[in-house]
Amino acid sequence: MASDRRRRTITRCAAAGVVLIVFLVGSAPARAAAAWWSPVALRGVAVARVSAIGDTITVRTGSGEMLRSTDAGRTFATAPSDAALPPSGVVTVGTQRWEIDPGGKVVHVANVTQGTSGVVDPGSPDLGPGAGLIASPAALPGVVVAVSTNGTVWRRGQDGDWKQALLLLPASLVQGVPRITAVTAFTEPLSDAIYLGTDGYAVLISTDGGDDWIRAGAGLPDSVSSLSADSARHALYAGTADGLWEHVLQSLPAPPSYQDAALVWRWLGIGAITLVASAAALLGLTRLVPRRLSG
């Protein structure tokens, strides 16, 4: 008699549990985040330089061949003989231009259209002769990131203050410090991001003017030779040891926030599980732990 009652109770509890689980599972649609990087073309080919403007993408391969695509990277053909890649060591944002002079100092041209002459930015670090990596995001006026020939990343804050922002560490005891190969940002005010390409740590990104950095090379080959931010397509292109890759502007991954009913139901479910798990653990403890310590 008692056994029948217990069986009925267990059956009812199990049925209620199944209904609860089915309801809760049904209320949580699955989602998949978009890939941070995706391959565009030229897999298996080393891409040494890339420049993208709208649908036109020009690349120089590791063997020195110049290729051009006029359909956003779907097909590539040999570039015209007069094709050239943009010069390094200079970036123009609106009417301002920042460039690295031959001595390695950062020069600021306040108004390109009025023909203002450039002046060495006060406090500019000595980047070393031949330094050529510089970027300035249009969304953060006055912020500049430049790389010295010894691999130190410098950043200029909006207050004009230059500071060392990043020092790469050795890949391992035998491999040494990877080379910084590229730095870029969007020259239209689309994003605060500054991107750093490396030959070993893929891509790093800063969204606060170079103070804090995170690794943003998920899916990308570790060896990145060149970066190009294309404001027209809201995309960043990376020339790598394994072809051309693309990152379309998107928010940094973050947990979603829930409102009202969705949040309440989720909390109820989590609360119910917590209570059941605690109760089950206590039941197990009272059944299995002896009344007093022995021995």
Binding site: D212, A277, L282, L293
Partner: protein, 295 residues
């Protein structure tokens, strides 16, 4: 017949000295694991419950009855140790938000909030340690080993820290994410986050190598007690890393827990482990460049 043999075997185990602690640990961990992981099947706990309040509530719900129910008295020291781990973690992770909600802009920078949350975690841990000292019978009372730090212990702490940093540099950078140092962020964050990391390391050592190991070794062989606390230490890191790309962190923390447990027993002092743990946490804080999806 088989059932009777099983029952007899269970009774033999229950008569063993180690049984209450082992059964408590396994059952409580199962309960906490269910509270932590089951919600993933129907909800998004990272978004709804980022501070792991469910784990804290479950740990307190399981531990509280052991203070009042005589039958659960042998389980008390283990359950208090687990409550110290889970409840104070929520105090730490939710602390900055709680401070901001209470004090608004007067709560200071985020770094300052993290520091005060770490102080709260350490205070909460010490409070529970005091409760364990007062409420557990002398034969089950955990030995916290906080009273002495000899020259040998200090040397072990310094040498262990150096070895850990050397190991971190020897391992490939990509495995750990220790790809760069960020001087601007370091100068800004260290005054608060350095001490905060040291406090967090202290709290965890009191929880795992003080309360838990101290309680387990009252009834188990030193080797099994150490393996058990290291297993809980590893599993506890599941709470902050589950589902993410840093899942391999769990076996690593298990091994680290084993090493810390061995060191604490060997030197009969908690402090060498606190020193190494603090140095490791500070190195992780400032030497690791976070990835897009966390560590």
């Amino acid at each position: 017949m088989a059932t009777e043999a099983r029952r007899a075997r269970l009774e033999r185990y229950r008569a063993s000295r180690w049984w209450p602690a082992a059964a408590t640990l396994v059952i409580a961990e199962l309960g906490l694991g269910a509270a932590l992981l089951v919600p993933i099947t129907f909800s998004d706990p990272n978004g709804v419950d980022p501070y792991l309040a469910r784990l804290s509530v479950a740990s307190v719900l399981i531990a509280m009855p052991s203070l009042f129910v005589r039958r659960l008295e042998p389980a008390r020291p283990i359950l208090l140790a687990l409550a110290a781990v889970a409840a104070t973690y929520t105090l730490l992770s939710a602390g900055p938000q709680i401070l901001f909600d209470l004090l608004g802009p007067r709560s200071g920078s985020f770094d300052a909030q993290v520091f005060w949350a770490s102080v709260a975690q350490a205070a909460g841990t010490l409070l529970i340690a005091l409760a364990a000292w007062r409420l557990v019978t002398p034969e089950g009372r955990p030995s916290l080993r906080m009273r002495r730090l000899g020259i040998g212990g200090l040397a072990a702490g310094v040498l262990g820290s150096a070895a850990l940093i050397g190991l971190g540099l020897a391992l490939p950078a990509g495995v750990l994410g220790r790809v760069a140092l960020q001087p601007v962020a370091l100068g800004r964050d260290f005054p608060f986050l350095g001490p905060a990391n040291a406090l967090q390391a202290f709290s965890q050592e009191v929880q795992f190598r003080g309360l838990l190991l101290g309680a387990l070794e009252r009834t188990m062989s030193p080797r099994w007690a150490n393996v058990s606390q290291a297993a809980v230490f590893g599993l506890a890191h599941l709470a902050i890393s589950y589902g993410g790309p840093e899942a391999p962190f769990v076996p690593i923390t298990f091994l680290v827990g084993l090493g810390f447990g061995w060191l604490v027993r060997r030197t009969n002092s908690l402090w060498p482990a606190v020193i190494i743990h603090a140095v490791a946490d500070i190195a992780l804080q400032f030497g690791i460049v976070q990835g897009l999806y966390g560590l």
